[in-house]
C-alpha cells in the first residue's frame, strides 16, 4: 500500500477513536465509530486474497448492523427523553439496545460469531489493530452507559467468558484462538462494569498489553498455526522462553500481571453477593487456560519432529522494532507486585 494512503488510514483510525473519546453527543460518538470502521476496511483488504475479502465483508456487515442499531437507539432515546447526551441514556429500552449494539461492535457473546472468521482472514498486524484499537471507542461508550439493571451486563459477560473458553477449545489456528481469547477477556470486563467501572478499565489496559505482546511475538516468529509454533525455538530462543509467560499471564495465573484483574474482579463480585457468578466465571476461565497451556506446551515444552540440523534458519537481526514487544512483555509478566500502586492509579 502506498505510504501516503497507509498513513492516512492510520491517522483516520486515531481520529475516529479520539472523536468518540472527546464527544458528549451521540451523533459525534457514532461518527467516530464509523470513521474507525471505514478506516480499517482498506487495511483489511490490502492483501487481495479471498479470505481477506470475506473477512472484510463479514466485518463490514457486523459493524454496519451494530452502528445502525446504535444510531437507532440514540435517536429513540432522544425521542423518548429529549436527551442527546451520552450520559443521559436512562430509558431501559434504549439503554439495552445501546448495550447490545456496542456488544456486537466489540464481539461479545452471543453477538460474537463474526469475530473468529474475521480474525482468521486477516494478517497478524491487522488482527492486532482489530483486537486492541478497535475496542477502545465502543468501550468508551459502554463505560458511560450507567444501567439501572445490571442483568444485561452480567448475562453478556458470563456468556462471553464461557463461549470464549469453549470456542477456543478445539482450535489450531492461532488467530481464531486469539479471537476467542479476546471474547473471553471482554466478558470479564463487561461482567464487572456495573459494579466497579475502574476495574473494567484496569482489565482493559491489562488485556491490551497482553494481547499486544502476544500478537507481536507471533509476528516476529511469523506463525499462524499451532504446528509452526514448535519451530520457533530455532528462530528466537529468548522469545520461546518469554511467550509461555505471556500466555499464562493471559490465562490469569499468579504471579503474572494477568492475575491482577481477575483477582480483583472476583473479589468485587463476591462483595456484591454474586459468588455463584464469580465461581462460574472462574471455572470458565479454565477452558481458556487450557488452550493457553496447549500453546505454551507446543512452543516451548516440545521439540518438533523434523531434523533440526538440516533446517535451522539463519538468525539474522530482526527487521522489526522489538522495543514495543520488550516493553509490553515486561509489563505483562512483572506488574503484579505493584498492585497497590495500580489500584491507587485507577481508583483515585
Amino acid at each position: 500500500m502506498a505510504p501516503f494512503v497507509y498513513s492516512t488510514l492510520i491517522i483516520s483510525l486515531g481520529l475516529g477513536t479520539t472523536t468518540t473519546f472527546a464527544s458528549t453527543h451521540w451523533y459525534l460518538a457514532w461518527m467516530g465509530i464509523e470513521i474507525n470502521t471505514l478506516a480499517i476496511i482498506p487495511l483489511m483488504t490490502q492483501n487481495h486474497n479471498p479470505r481477506a475479502i470475506e473477512a472484510t465483508t463479514k466485518y463490514f456487515f457486523a459493524q454496519a448492523t451494530a452502528s445502525a442499531t446504535l444510531l437507532f437507539a440514540a435517536v429513540s432515546n432522544a425521542f423518548l427523553t429529549g436527551e442527546w447526551d451520552i450520559l443521559q441514556i436512562n430509558h431501559p429500552l434504549t439503554s439495552t439496545l445501546t448495550t447490545l449494539a456496542l456488544a456486537m461492535k466489540i464481539g461479545l457473546a452471543p453477538l460474537h460469531s463474526w469475530m473468529p472468521e474475521v480474525m482468521q482472514g486477516l494478517n497478524l498486524l491487522t488482527g492486532l489493530i482489530l483486537s486492541t484499537w478497535q475496542k477502545l471507542a465502543p468501550f468508551c461508550l459502554i463505560y458511560q452507559i450507567q444501567p439501572d439493571n445490571p442483568n444485561v451486563f452480567i448475562t453478556l459477560g458470563l456468556l462471553s467468558v464461557i463461549v470464549g473458553g469453549w470456542g477456543g477449545f478445539n482450535q489450531v489456528q492461532l488467530r481464531k484462538i486469539l479471537a476467542y481469547s479476546s471474547i473471553a477477556h471482554l466478558g470479564w470486563m463487561i461482567l464487572i462494569l456495573p459494579f466497579s467501572p475502574p476495574l473494567t478499565l484496569l482489565a482493559l489496559f491489562t488485556y491490551l498489553m497482553m494481547t499486544f505482546s502476544l500478537f507481536s511475538s507471533f509476528m516476529l516468529v511469523r506463525t499462524t498455526h499451532i504446528n509452526s509454533l514448535s519451530t520457533s525455538w530455532a528462530k528466537i530462543p529468548t522469545l520461546t522462553a518469554c511467550v509461555p509467560l505471556i500466555l499464562l499471564s493471559l490465562g490469569g495465573l499468579p504471579p503474572l500481571t494477568g492475575f491482577l484483574p481477575k483477582w480483583l474482579i472476583l473479589q468485587e463480585l463476591t462483595k456484591q453477593d454474586l459468588a455463584p457468578i464469580a465461581t462460574l466465571a472462574a471455572l470458565s476461565s479454565l477452558f481458556s487456560l487450557y488452550f493457553y497451556l496447549r500453546l505454551s506446551y507446543t512452543m516451548t515444552l516440545t521439540m518438533p519432529p523434523n531434523n533440526p540440523a538440516g533446517t535451522l534458519p539463519w538468525r539474522l537481526n530482526p527487521q522489526h522494532n522489538t522495543l514495543p514487544l520488550a516493553l509490553t512483555a515486561t509489563t505483562t509478566i512483572f506488574l503484579l507486585p505493584i498492585t497497590p500502586t495500580i489500584l491507587a492509579l485507577f481508583t483515585s
Binding site: A2, N47, H48, N49, P50, R51, I53, E54, T57, Q120, F169, N170, Q171, V172, Q173, T224, H225, I226, N227, S230, T231, R294, T298, T302, P304, P305, N306, G310, T311, P313
Partner: protein
C-alpha cells in the same frame, strides 16, 4: 457480408402502419448471438429443449430413502459431536503437532471411487471419453479414456477436448459443507504413473462471492510414460490462480485452511487414448521449503 442498404427501408410514414416489424428488422441487422447469463447454473447444449419442470417435480419422494437419509445424517451428527471431545477436527492435538504427512485419498477398493467424479467434453457434445476404475489388486485407481479435440457442431463452441476427474466436496451431517484444512502442510504429494501426457492439477478453495465460484488454483503435472511409479511433490506456493481456465493477473497464494476439492484435468490437444494411474494423494510438510508464493504480485496501477 455487407449490410443491407438503407434504400430498402420503407419511408417513415409507412412504418407506423406496419404492426409486425420483425421481418423488417431481420433484414437490417443480424440477430445478436444469445449469451448465457453468468449466474446461470449448469450448461444446456444448444438445441436441447429447456426443462420446464418445476423443482418439486424433479425430486423423487421415497419414504425409505428419507428414513435412511435421516439415520445417516443423525449418525454423522453424533460422530461430529463426540469428535469434539477427542480434539480439533476429531484428531488428538498431539497428532496435529506431530503430523508431517497425511494421506487424503488412497485408492484401495471400489468404495474409494465414490469420492470422485469424472467428466469430459461429451457433456457439451464432444467426442472424448473418460472412465475410472479400480486398478490391479485393488491397490490403485486407473483413469483412462480417449481425448478428442473436435469441437461439437453446434455453432457456438469453438474449442473442445478435455477430460477431468475431481474429488467430491466433503459433506458433514445434513449435507453441510466440510472443508479440508491443510494449513499444517505446504506440499502436495502424489504417487502416480502416467503415459507421458501433461496434466493440470486443480485445487478448489472455498470462496465467498458467487463470482468467485469458478476460481481454482492450478499447476502442471508432467507424467513420465513407463512402468515406474512417479512421486510428485508440488509445493502449494507454486499454484497459480485461474478463473474459468484463464490465468489471472492479480495473483495471490493459495490459502490452505478451507479446501473444497482437488482435480486433474487433461487438455493437451493430443487426440488419442490416455491413462493415469494414481496410488495415493496426500499432503506433507517440507520444512526446507520456505517460499510463500512463487509468483510476483504485480501492482496493477503502479505509481509513475
Amino acid at each position: 457480408m455487407s449490410l443491407p442498404t438503407i434504400s430498402r427501408v420503407p419511408a417513415s410514414g409507412l412504418l407506423r402502419s406496419i404492426r409486425d416489424l420483425r421481418w423488417l428488422l431481420r433484414s437490417i441487422a443480424p440477430l445478436a448471438t444469445p449469451r448465457r447469463a453468468l449466474t446461470q447454473m449448469g450448461y444446456r447444449r444448444p438445441g436441447q429443449p429447456r426443462e420446464d419442470k418445476p423443482p418439486w417435480w424433479r425430486v423423487k419422494f421415497d419414504l425409505s430413502k428419507g428414513l435412511k437419509g435421516m439415520k445417516r445424517h443423525f449418525t454423522l451428527l453424533k460422530e461430529e459431536f463426540f469428535a469434539q471431545f477427542i480434539g480439533p477436527m476429531g484428531k488428538p492435538i498431539i497428532e496435529h503437532m506431530l503430523e508431517q504427512n497425511q494421506v487424503l485419498w488412497e485408492f484401495r477398493g471400489p468404495h474409494s471411487l465414490q469420492e470422485w467424479t469424472i467428466s469430459c467434453d461429451r457433456e457439451i457434445g464432444g467426442k472424448s471419453e473418460i472412465y475410472l476404475k479400480v486398478g490391479r489388486n485393488n491397490e490403485t485407481c486407473l483413469l483412462y479414456g480417449t481425448l478428442c479435440s473436435d469441437p461439437p457442431k453446434d455453432g457456438e463452441t469453438r474449442y473442445s477436448g478435455y477430460c477431468t476427474m475431481r474429488a467430491k466436496q466433503p459433506l458433514a451431517s445434513f449435507d453441510r459443507k466440510r472443508y479440508h484444512d491443510w494449513s499444517s502442510f505446504n506440499t502436495l504429494h502424489l504417487r502416480i504413473r502416467g503415459d507421458g501426457r501433461p496434466w493440470m492439477i486443480n485445487v478448489i478453495a472455498e470462496t465467498y462471492y458467487t463470482h468467485q465460484k469458478d476460481d481454482m488454483y492450478s499447476y502442471f503435472l508432467y507424467t513420465r510414460g513407463g512402468p515406474y511409479w512417479q512421486d510428485v511433490k508440488i509445493p502449494f506456493s507454486k499454484f497459480f490462480l485461474a478463473h474459468r481456465g484463464r490465468v489471472q493477473d492479480d495473483q495471490h497464494e493459495l490459502w490452505l485452511d478451507k479446501i473444497n476439492a482437488i482435480g486433474f484435468t487433461l487438455g493437451d490437444k493430443a487426440d488419442g487414448p490416455f491413462q493415469l494411474e494414481i496410488d495415493f494423494i496426500g499432503v506433507c510438510k517440507d520444512y526446507a521449503h520456505t517460499e510463500d508464493f512463487a509468483y510476483e504480485k504485480y501492482k496493477r496501477n503502479p505509481e509513475v
